[in-house]
Amino acid sequence: MTFDTLNLMEVEILSHKIDKTAGFKVVIVDSSIIESHLTKSLAELMTSSASVFVKSYGQGSLATTSFRGASAAHTQVLWNGVNINSPMPGQTDFSQIPVYFVDRVKLFYGAGSISQTNGGLGGSISLDNEISWNNTLDVQLLQELASFETFRTFATVRLGNSRFQSSTRVLSASAKNDFKFLNNAVNRENPPIETRKDASFNQKGFLQEFSLKTGNHGMLSARLWAQENFREIPPNIMANAPEGNEKLNESFVRGLLSFDYFKGPASLTLQTGILHNHLNYQNKISLTDASNSVVSLVNSVKYQNQITNNFVVSAGANFNHHEVNSENYEATKFRNEGSGYLGLNFSFKNKLYLSFIARQEIIDGKTMPFTPSFGLNYNLTKNDDLTIKFNVAKNFHTPTLNDLYWNPGGNENLQNETGYSAESSFSFKKQSKSVKFETGLTAFYSDIQNWIMWLPDSVYSYWSPSNLKNVISKGIEFEVKLSGKSGKVDWTCAFGYAFTSAVNKKALSENDLSVGKQLIYVPRNTLNNTLQLNYRNFSLTYTLNFAGIRYTTSDNSRYLPGYVVDELRFAKRLKLGKSLFDLQFSINNLTAQNYQVIAWQPMPGRNYRFSVSYKFGK
């Protein structure tokens, strides 16, 4: 994790040891990217990745992700192996996850997520914390000042020895977030400049980790993540509500206890945890003050054994119990989930890798669909320069608790959404003396049936979900990266492009014009581009993200134009004895584009961030 070597969004490179996700697309966000986004939210980190679209209502406001045209609830998010999607809406708000609390981010595209969990019809994201055993004392203080009265303070203390490690991280952030924007709801051609109101937020977080080696083969670790998020929910720019009308207060505590046992080629992991989440929503005008809380107990066991040089077997089981107390449900609701999986991985002559992963889940006593998946990697050349991949899978997503029990409207007769998918890719890399070239092209196809949609009920006047759509999503993802060293300058240039066609195939009635049309808020074209130069302890990064038009109606009669957002970042490292100073200055939305990710929700113009990090290590 040195500052000088920079590998941007790198496709997990196959080593000659057996790859357990052979055939599937797994992307590890490079640690240097995480380091340069430390003060941001996961939503902002994900925005810099093509082919995952982040639907954001603005800084600090709700942000969800869409992989390959699937919905927000089709992205599963795991923290150290535990699913942290709220079982109520079945999704995660990425604006509330600080990158500072995460050490490693892995993206599992499409069926690649079956190796982690069921339900990721779009994909899954793993957020992991890592331990460094050679640390004795490491202290970091990080302060950021940014536009719109945004202040963020972070601190870390890591101490320990080769047998015991403790890591403590805290954060405190607040923003007035009163940026200027052009109100095009007042006048389309000459929009007046207005100031965003009621968009403030603040956040406090704490993450404690303890790790202890037990004997020669075991490791015990305990983690506690507590956080409090408060935010105002600003109305769209044509709504007119009393000041401070809507507020959301969220607090959670996540505790995890893990025991890992390694012996020779075998490993066993036992994990148990408790997650508590409390959410309060207030709306002055409608006198709403609604609270809900979720308690989840999570337990898992994982076993892996490399039986021969060419064969790895892995197996695991999960048992989770959720209890939801919500003013929006008629009564306390429970969900019990049990699942087991088996993975078999083979390699033949370091050329062909096969993986079979199958999962079977039982939810509330009901047997869910069996989800087998198969993937293969084939190295066409000796030194892995040219690799082809292929996978095919079945997956499902079970209705969320809101879908089932929301009062009124919840529909207990909903069926699972089921997905069938296939994917193929090739990757190529070439290294000359001074330049490294890597490229990859992936094509995917997925058919999601029984897609859940909320509509007004004909018997009752309220909205209710049903299994109404059939969505076919297909597309390509292309990445190319060039990097090299010229004199004292290290340079990297990365380019990513994704084309996503996500189309509804099923009509509600004869005149339903959504058939054959692109899903709303799924851009067909997304593109990102990063250029980075490092010279000694100085680095300069330019990133550019583009999202093409997003339709806002299911008949595609309305759309939002495409937008480009770019950022220029300077970073400088200073070493003074055992102290390390990192200075970072960035200009976001450098070219001051006016854009809206969501219709009538403005985004800030050019804005600035400045941060200083002080590190002391022994």
Binding site: N240, P242, S434, S458, L468, W491, L508, S554, S557, Q593
Partner: protein, 374 residues
């Protein structure tokens, strides 16, 4: 840094370009191309591809509510002479969207008065070209506008506990009538204003089963009448009787009823109960001769004001449609119904002859709601 002489820099640069540095130029080119293709002055707001110009004439206005909070409501006009629909006509004239949830419209004089619910405003437009005459603010959640006397109109409010009194000559709020409850539809009969207390969402301490009586001469709340739960729509018939349709509640808590009030005695004279607690009737309206009632209960129902029970079978069955609102042309008695399809696309206006035969359909805007004949 000292070793970096000028010559060195140049030769290094040459070296760079020779050694794969073109990637950087590629990036820069990409950036320049993309930024230049996105002009700052370009339209960055939601674009509706289905808009057309408004031409005044005889026809029906359709208020498309749009999704709450998404600002995609609009105004449409279906012309009688050409049977052509003109969509998003407010935007075409005023170069801005109408607002968040345009909910109801009243024609007062030569102007259209539109209550835009979640924008908490009333837009007043000249009927001749839909140009803006005035905009009135100062409501919480305006719902319906009723002209009650010369130069005077009332505005009901879903979350507010007052009725706003408008001076329709000066386009301003001239006063408030304290009600203590939410207010919804209003009708004028026997020189009294009947105000339905439809939703108790923001007033959970009260039963939403009342109709309030206001005297528009002195703006005084004079009386209240208990009706069924959730009175959602009202009409006045040719005998000057007030009909109130009560859905029975959001959660279908009680048997829905259609009730008839005598505006002289302020007594409920008739109560017609529906056969099924799940009927969820809505959108009560009356024909041009004020003798036949229509409402939605899955399908479209028709009932003469002299009948003594609610019909059991719909006059126009639901079939594949999910009717949202209906209206009856006061001149021809043709029946107009809206269907919002998936509530995320341009919905339908369906027309039927007075005998129920289907005439035609048109695509209006998102969630077509109230229809106003001109």
């Amino acid at each position: 840094m000292n070793s970096f002489t000028k010559n060195n820099t140049v030769s290094k640069f040459v070296k760079l370009t020779n050694s794969g540095f073109p990637g950087i130029f590629f990036t820069l080119l990409c950036a320049i191309f993309m930024i230049s293709s996105c002009d700052n002055k370009d339209d960055f707001g939601e674009i509706n591809t289905q808009g057309s110009k408004y031409n005044a004439g005889a026809g029906v206005f359709i208020l498309n509510e749009g999704n709450f909070g998404q600002g995609n409501g609009s105004l449409s006009f279906l012309r009688f002479d050409s049977s052509k629909i003109e969509n998003d006509i407010f935007f075409q004239t005023n170069n801005r969207p109408l607002g968040d949830v345009p909910f109801s419209m009243s024609i007062i004089g030569e102007n259209a008065w539109i209550a835009v619910n979640n924008s908490a405003k009333i837009e007043i437009l000249a009927l001749k070209d839909l140009s803006q005459v005035a905009t009135i603010e100062g409501f919480l959640s305006p719902r319906f506008i009723l002209e009650v006397a010369e130069n005077k109109a009332y505005v009901s409010d879903l979350y507010g506990d007052e009725i706003s009194v408008l001076d329709t000559k000066n386009y301003s709020i001239s006063g408030k009538i304290s009600l203590g409850y939410s207010s919804e539809q209003m009708v004028l009969a026997n020189n009294l204003v009947f105000v339905a207390f439809w939703s108790n969402y923001a007033f959970p301490a009260f039963e939403n089963n009342k109709v309030f009586i206001i005297n528009p001469a002195n703006d005084q709340l004079t009386d209240s009448i208990e009706v069924g739960k959730e009175p959602n729509s009202m009409v006045v018939d040719k005998n000057m009787k007030v009909w109130v349709l009560c859905s029975g509640g959001f959660m279908n808590e009680e048997i829905p009823t259609l009730q008839q009030i005598n505006p002289e005695t302020l007594e409920v004279e008739e109560i017609f109960a529906f056969g099924n607690i799940q009927s969820s009737p809505s959108s009560l309206c009356i024909n041009g001769t004020l003798d036949t009632l229509f409402f939605i209960s899955s399908g479209i129902f028709r009932m003469s004001i002299t009948e003594n029970k609610v019909p059991e079978q719909p006059f126009i069955p639901e079939q594949e449609h999910l009717y949202y609102q209906i209206a009856v042309d006061p001149k021809t008695s043709d029946i107009y119904a809206t269907d919002a399809i998936d509530y995320q696309q341009n919905g339908l206006i369906l027309r039927y002859k007075p005998d129920g035969t289907f005439i035609d359909f048109h695509h209006a805007g998102i969630i077509p709601g109230q229809m106003i004949f001109r």
